[in-house]
């Protein structure tokens, strides 16, 4: 019990104070229907969970983020490794990465909808687009940051170039890849909301948009809180899995 408290006590106090401040601001400072207090939002959330609307929206967004994020990472990691390891590949691909990464995913929404329609295709495309460049850049930077002595030691131990790539360069890059993926996950939330605001039939972004259209202020806040909590939970989960499954790849050494 004590260990649990020392581990999570800070979070509990932090969240409670957040909701308390929100309550105070909403009830005493603003006191307007346009800024509902947490209790009202919670009651609305319970209603939306009961009739299944909230879970439907939530699940739609999660599915899209996961699919795009996994696909973007799976594409980005090998490209990043190749760019970091082979100069000609880097020279060849840099025009793509350096050109495209300055066009934000949000700016690509229109093109995505024209190409892939307003269904799943355009959302997954946008999340892949958001994910891939961060993962590529971090992976390539990770390869570049490998201590030269790690490579030299392997050479002096008789490793071939291919072995050095597989047994030294790849594992040494894992912490950078994971960092890139974590950043990409954060950006995916921004992108999915923007995409769903503009063109979607369900999802947390669509819920926001409907809330605005029909003046359902409570719905808007439910959606916002869900986004925050979801992002927080996913990030913690990511950190926890890195710690548990890839602890030995932590950047300490």
């Amino acid at each position: 019990m004590r260990r649990l408290w020392s581990r999570y006590g800070g979070y509990v106090i932090g969240f409670l104070s957040l909701f308390a401040l929100w309550h105070l601001a909403s009830v005493y400072l603003v006191s307007s229907v346009l800024f509902p207090p947490p209790g009202v939002v919670l009651r609305k959330a319970v209603v939306l969970v009961r009739n299944g609307v909230l879970l439907e929206h939530l699940w739609a967004s999660i599915q899209r983020i996961l699919a795009g994020f996994v696909a973007g990472s799976l594409l980005g990691i090998p490209i990043g490794l190749a760019m970091g390891s082979f100069r000609p590949v880097r020279k060849m691909l840099e025009p793509y990465t350096e050109f495209l990464r300055f066009i934000p995913a949000v700016a690509m929404i229109t093109v995505a909808v024209i190409w892939f329609g307003i269904g799943e295709g355009s959302k997954i495309f946008l999340i892949i687009y958001t994910t891939i460049f961060i993962v590529i850049l971090n992976t390539a930077a990770g390869v570049a940051a490998i201590a030269p002595n790690k490579i030299r030691a392997a050479q002096a131990l008789g490793a071939t170039r291919a072995q050095i790539f597989v047994y030294v360069a790849m594992p040494a890059t894992v912490p950078y890849i994971l960092t890139g993926m974590r950043l990409a996950m954060g950006n995916s939330f921004t992108t999915i909301v923007a995409a769903e605001l503009i063109a979607a039939n369900e999802g947390l972004g669509k819920m926001l948009w409907d809330g605005r259209m029909f003046m359902l202020v409570d719905d808007i806040f439910v959606s916002l809180v869900c986004l925050g909590l979801l992002g927080f939970a996913v990030d913690r989960l990511f950190r926890w899995s890195i710690y548990t499954f890839a602890g030995k790849y932590s950047p300490a050494t």
Binding site: A156, A172, K248
Partner: protein, 260 residues
Amino acid sequence: MALVCFRDVQKSYRPLQGAEWVAVEHFSVDIEAGEFFCLLGPSGCGKTTVLKMLAGFEAPTAGEILMEGRPVTGASRDRGVVFQGDDSLYGWLTAVENVEFGLRMRGMARGERRERAMRYLELVGLTGQQQKYPAELSGGMKQRIQIARALVNEPKMLLMDEPFAALDAQTRSLMQEELRSVWRTTRTTVLFITHDIDEAVTLGTRIGVMRAGPGSRVKGVLDVALDGARDRTDDVFLRYYKQVYEMIRDEVAKSLLRAD
């Protein structure tokens, strides 16, 4: 013929800006099989450059380096390397996995390579620490892993680049003693780079003193006829220390002037 011959070796670097820098010039020395050769010199004199060329990490710009009569063309497991810092260790592998890295690359069966690695971990005094990751071990222990990792490959010689320079004084002298006993067991030829006279006299069977850079070369070579455990308070030890000190004193002064 000597195991290793440096013949009139030169290494110069061409920086992106400014004049060409000649690190080593007319560098010639022979290293015999079975000896513990200490290469001693003031900082920045190109000692490490010599080691990198023999390891095969860098090619000389002139002259040649022969090992068993054949020119050195690249890194090879004939020449094991122990680096100064710990950044050559693989942080995602345990101590024993680090040690067996070379054997694994050779495709040796798991059981056999584990058994050999354990033997060498014992040799360097790391029994019981084999399942720890490098980050969990002290600086001295990490250097032991490096030594075991190089030796388990049974190289024809061991190249050591100031391996104890980053350790505290007590650990350093302990490591020196242990390295000496490891060397007496294995009789692997060693090229040991250091800037520490005490370390050179403690470990070496021969000491090569280098001139200050640029264009550094060997100023003189000294045979150390000390056997058994070397005692720092022994008269003979002190006489060698003084002899080396006098050889290197002017060079250190020169390198300091250059640094200013």
